[in-house]
Symmetry: C2
Subunit: 105 residues, 2 copies
Amino acid sequence: MKISAVTVFVKPEFIDGFIAASKIHQSNTIREKGNLRFDFLQCRDDPSQFLFYEAYESEADIDLHREADSYRTWRKTVDSWMAVPRKGIGYRAIAPCESSQYRYP
Amino acid sequence: MKISAVTVFVKPEFIDGFIAASKIHQSNTIREKGNLRFDFLQCRDDPSQFLFYEAYESEADIDLHREADSYRTWRKTVDSWMAVPRKGIGYRAIAPCESSQYRYP
């Protein structure tokens, strides 16, 4: 299982557009093979800061995700809206460690 | 629902102890009233960096968590092992937004 947390800072004038585009991307991503979860969150203290908490069965599934139309469209749409390059951090699950605990019900 | 992502950097010599203490704390926390999830993760590129991805039904449940013996014991055990003060960021869930999607199966 591969888990990552991706932080995105969006230029204030594009926050609404970023949310709209990312909601569509989220609904597409959770239907992809190997995706366990894809939580899209907004920082409470800074509405321009967002987090994507993503879990996939394998690295190959992440590769497929990045090749998918949804990801390409999302990147093309939102890349210029980011205030700084997005920052992704890869994690291994310690507890719980079973992929079944990360999959949406 | 209240979601937070807490990043902790641990002094290298205390990594094993931190993992052991945090696994116990995780197993206690997920039994607490109002806790939906408490994922404990280690950064793949930096074994001294950890993430707690936590979801609670309400702010009151977080208050109860911080008053619990498990939290007090964990803090007392690990506080001096942190290389820098831990950093927690509070989020609101955009998608999915239902608490049922954050609760462990």
